[in-house]
Symmetry: C2
Subunit: 320 residues, 2 copies
DNA sequence: TTGGCTCTGGCAACCGTTTGCAAGGAGGAC
DNA sequence: GTCCTCCTTGCAAACGGTTGCCAGAGCCAA
């Protein structure tokens, strides 16, 4: 039924090993023979069987990509870029979703461990210790997480937070609410750390919050009540949920409260008010993470991507 | 390094075939032995090698999922649901993105053909003939595409369009613009077909359009100029882009023009004006498509999912 | 002519599992 | 006690490639 290396070999009167070499070590076969083989293979529609190849070589040419939540608009561009990059290198990528559950995350990594050549851990929620342990079983690259000794692609969340807070300060806001994300989030910690170092601000911390609109919706009453006039949210979804909640309570954004998000996802760019947010280079991160994983040299390489504040309509002058 | 079936066999003094059977045909092995094997396997951390298994059985326990654009918020919930469902049946899923390019789509299907047990073709753009031909090489299930003889999960776009147009008509709109999607889109055809049968409406067709915000942005001038007071857009992204463009031209939505989208994606639910739209059960579709693919009986089964109009803020009374 | 070198391609073992076949043992019916 | 079954397990041949090793051919220099 399916055409194998044997059929190709028979078709042009050579041994299977010659066919094999034509594909995996072309320089070892005579150009004339090689062309005959190539022609026959093309003719028969031969495609090497990846499972068989994986069995002997130990390389599957598959990658695993694990994210907390595919439905969070932050991830799709990252996934898309990673997948495209991998495809260009003849790799396929398994995408999996942990539903923000560290246990699922752990199980997923274990499942992937021996079946892929490497995994991309995007915003993992597991502990450092656990990740280090799991990474012993499979080459891993972190995205938005920093663990000593492990390769990672980071986005400069600290800078983003500083820019955001400076922007708020510049508009006259002093009392500012900081909505953190889920437990275990590196991004959330970075934001908090950066914020804590900003002088002259009166910071209020709320969290942990679900990194979704419902998370934002849920804290809206607290935020409205705390007297803050500016808010820095864990991500755009939280920011949008918050605005939703505030608006429902007749608290105008940005009239009474200014809100800044993180990620620059599509929903924030549409509708009204358009979100002021910190742009995160998700696609670039996906691309570079794949590269990092595949080149494997530069073991502990860490790439730091730039972030930028995009001012839109959800922030305005403080009117105290 | 990695622990194989052999190690487990040695560890409890049985033959490899017994270990194999413990996992793939438990009823064929004595409960006592089975337990010893299970214990040893667990102890050593044994995980069957999928590549090896695939080689002998011909089943990879992998699925392919091909979508036009991962970054279109319509797809992630579908992908997420499909992936979760597959995982529950011990399948992994390769996600791939065609970037709306039929050639990439074809190549992707060919590449997957022999490496997966089946593919999900979500809103494919290829011709019927081509899809039928490719489907000979690999079990396929269509999502949002109807081809005779092939299993499919459809969403009732016709009903959605009718509801939407009736809603507009009920608000007094008579002259209505219909923004179609990309060429090759079944959904787009269904919409048009349903619309064409609605009596008493003055329909204007615009298209094909890119199924993105830019697509909507781009037709905004034409829509504003054509005198329509109601619009049915190919999807929410187009609708949101259109609103964006109209607003920029000082055409109020829904004040002067009412807009209805399709999909009920997140961005439409946030911001202002919130989109009136036809809700599409994307997650259910992903789940059912996987089931359809895996049960494989009921060869040409077609599942028809219901759609519903969700009235929000982008539609209002016609004021002529 | 001979020895040695380089190219090329065949041979066969191996990767980790599955599975048809057969053998051995236990147990039941007679 | 014998025969027949059923249950359990071992044996070995696949599955489709890859790769180390070896041999023959062709070439060159001495």
């Amino acid at each position: 039924m399916t055409v194998t290396i044997k059929d190709v070999a028979r078709a042009c009167g050579v041994h299977v090993s010659t066919v094999s070499r034509t594909f995996s070590a072309p320089h070892l076969v005579n150009p004339a023979t090689r062309n005959r083989v190539l022609a026959a293979a093309d003719d028969l529609g031969y495609r090497p069987n990846r499972a068989a190849r994986a069995l002997t070589t130990g390389r599957t040419f598959n990658l695993g990509l694990i994210v907390a939540d595919i439905a969070n608009p932050f991830f799709p561009p990252l996934i898309k870029a990673a997948q495209a990059q991998a495809r260009g290198r003849d790799y396929h990528v398994f995408v999996a979703d942990t539903d923000e559950d560290p246990r699922v995350e752990e199980e997923l990594i274990r499942t992937f461990a021996k079946q892929v050549d490497g995994v991309l851990l995007c915003s993992p929620r597991l502990s450092n210790r656990m990740i280090e342990r799991l990474a012993e079983d499979v080459p891993s690259v972190l995205v938005n997480r920093r663990i000593k000794g492990m390769p990672a692609v980071l986005m400069d969340v600290g800078k983003g937070a500083r820019l955001a807070l400076e922007h708020l300060a510049g508009l006259g806001h002093r009392r500012i609410a900081l909505l953190s994300g889920p437990p275990g989030s590196w991004t959330s910690n970075e934001m908090q750390a950066a914020a804590a170092e900003m002088p002259g601000l009166d910071l209020l911390f709320f969290g942990p919050n679900q990194p979704t609109e419902s998370g934002g919706l849920a804290v809206a009453p607290d935020v409205a009540a705390c007297g803050a006039t500016g808010v820095l949210a864990y991500n755009d979804l939280v920011a949008l949920g918050l605005i939703e909640g505030l608006t429902a309570m007749d608290v105008d954004v940005p009239g009474r409260i200014s809100v800044i998000g993180f990620d620059d996802i599509l929903p924030g760019r549409l509708g009204r008010p358009k979100l002021t947010t910190v742009a995160m280079p998700a696609a670039a991160a996906g691309r570079m993470a794949v590269d990092l994983l595949l080149q494997s040299e530069g073991e502990g390489a860490v790439i730091n991507l730039d972030t930028d504040l995009i001012v839109r309509e959800s922030t305005g002058r403080a009117n105290t």
